[in-house]
């Protein structure tokens, strides 16, 4: 097939336009590697066109929400671009999300279609598999219908109200976000980057967006969830870039000891994010990879990656999360909304072209989060005289399990349905194994003797594995305010279950 030139706006003002423009100019350049399969940019563009055509045939049009849920694979990345090409909104849902929650998310965003690797769930929404969408080759590359102001992504993030928050991003937002990240990391077309983190989450998706702007090669593979296998692929493919969460490095350190040092001559950059890293693991990386740029971001789905530290550069700023990316402003506001003096903690407020449009169907929440100074993160921090940001806590009860955000309310509602449990309260505590940063500790009020194994196994299948509490304490009653609201806190006493 000779699909000719894609019909695009005069300038590439969206990531999907950049992707197709790069494919037009560099059709033979390697775009994706997944196991034994590899795709050039030309082949990737043609397959994206086929997916776009498949979506059109199913009636997808600009503004429609299309849910996308699959393990990492090339078709997941291409479907993301195809949804954008058509002007529809990509709703990324982690493949590991239990069916009941997936059902709720698909209904919440009123998705017109669910795109998946397999048709194995029971949904009211029509499902199209990658194979079905690509069953016919496209005659032409698609007309790019994305505009800077139109919505590109709806990404669900954990809320504290019992309802997930759907973060709405425009094409201008994600283009700006990718530019900010690339301004720091500076990947090039010759880079081959291994991305074992899920593309369905903001961090992984950010790497795909940056790739569309850079024209580099991404290695994305399903089931690459074993830290030793990740390192083996990194070494075998001589990858020059890697994106991974701190828990991944922690597991890698324990499983493979110092073998990441074998990548010292080839690995040009690492992006780490979503959670803090243990100081020993940070030092381990710095010692074994003395010439690798090791970036660690502070960010949020609502404002992509706002702040970066580079471990070697910032070795004299050990507790800091770094400096704002070029073009991004970070302010610290006190309780009255005024700028806090240097060194004084206050709420971190971020502004820049990457800040979201708001939350899906939650105008009040949007109003409360988006002030005249920017996005109110809910995190507490302070700036030093060199402009470095330090974190000092957060306003909400959200627990960060190795980068996955967990709403304790959601865990409690499942715990309270376990046989024998009358009430529960979950809090975040330091991970006793030292891997995931925080872990969930559940306080349980029970009417009969119950074991941790019984509780864990009754939660399995209903909650994602990382949300399941790691430790349990039996107590007599849950501390509550006079209005009956749980006063979430770490308690002394209680009996370990």
């Amino acid at each position: 097939m000779n699909p000719g030139l894609p019909k695009m706006p005069s300038e590439a003002n969206s990531l999907v336009s950049h992707f197709f423009a790069y494919a037009r100019n560099h059709p033979d350049h390697s775009a994706f590697i997944s196991g034994e399969i590899s795709f050039t940019y030309g082949a990737a563009a043609e397959r994206t066109a086929a997916i776009t055509q498949g979506l059109s045939k199913r009636g997808i049009s600009p503004g429609d929400r299309v849910a996308l849920s699959a393990e990492n694979q090339i078709d997941l990345a291409l479907s993301y671009f195809a949804i954008h090409a058509i002007g529809a909104v990509a709703v990324m849902i982690d493949a590991k999300t239990p069916d009941n929650e997936k059902l709720m998310l698909v209904a919440d965003c009123q998705a017109r279609l669910l795109v998946a690797a397999k048709n194995d769930g029971e949904f009211d929404t029509p499902i199209a598999t990658f194979d079905e969408l690509t069953s016919e080759a496209a005659r032409d590359l698609p007309e790019i219908r994305a505009t800077p102001d139109s919505l590109s992504d709806l990404l669900y993030t954990t809320g504290t109200t019992g309802r997930p928050k759907g973060v709405l991003l425009s094409h201008a937002n994600i283009l700006s976000g990718a530019r900010h990240i690339n301004a720091v990391i500076q990947p090039g077309p010759d880079d081959t980057e291994l991305v074992p983190i899920p593309l369905s989450h903001s961090f992984g998706l950010g790497r795909l967006r940056c790739m569309a702007l850079t024209g580099n090669t991404l290695i994305i593979e399903p089931n690459l969830n074993n830290a030793a296998a990740i390192l083996m692929r990194l070494l075998a493919l001589r990858a020059t870039g890697l994106a991974l969460v701190p828990a991944g490095f922690e597991i890698m350190r324990r499983l493979t000891r110092d073998r990441i040092g074998e990548a010292a001559k080839t690995l040009r950059y690492i992006e780490i994010g979503s959670a803090p890293i243990h100081p020993d693991t940070k030092q381990w990386l710095m010692d074994l990879l003395p010439d690798t740029h090791i970036y660690h971001h502070y960010g949020m789905t609502e404002a992509t990656r706002s702040v970066f530290t580079e471990y070697h550069r910032d070795k004299d700023k050990p507790g800091s999360v770094g400096l704002p990316s070029p073009g991004i402003k970070v302010k610290i506001l006190d309780d009255d909304g005024r700028s806090a003096p240097l060194g004084t903690p206050g709420e971190i407020v971020v502004s820049g072209g990457m800040v979201m449009q708001g939350y899906w169907d939650q105008p009040e929440l949007t109003k409360n989060s988006m002030g005249s100074e920017g996005f109110h993160s809910g995190d507490i921090g302070y700036l030093d005289s060199d402009g470095y940001l330090y974190l000092a806590g957060r306003k909400s009860d959200i627990i960060n399990i190795g980068g996955y955000k967990v709403d304790p309310d959601g865990v409690e509602s499942h715990l309270n349905q376990c046989p024998g449990i009358t009430e529960s309260m979950c809090v975040g505590v330091p991970d006793p194994d030292g891997i995931t940063g925080e872990a969930v500790l559940a306080y349980i009020v029970s009417e009969k003797e119950i074991s941790s194994k019984m509780i864990i196994n009754s939660l399995r299948g209903k909650l994602e594995e990382y949300k399941i509490p790691k430790s349990f304490q039996s107590i007599d009653k849950i501390p509550k305010s006079s209005s009956g609201k749980i006063k979430r806190q770490v308690l002394s006493g209680g009996t370990k279950i």
Partner: protein
Amino acid sequence: MEGLKLSTSELVKQIFQSALNLDDDFELDDSMRFEGVPGWDSLGHLRIVMEIESAINSSLEMEEIISLDTVQKIRDLVESRTP
């Protein structure tokens, strides 16, 4: 336990139960891959490796760790490395 030698099947079951908090009546099948066993994610894999290393009293090489993606392969490894 001193003086009580477990069969390979019992040892493998114990490794999985300790590492992943599996139900006592969970039926572990040799053909199961990691995605079919509750809790066998990246963290679960680390715990399984640590349990194996403790059971066989030696460290595993990276290549061995990567290859362990089915119950059968873990059984074979435990069998070959148990005195």
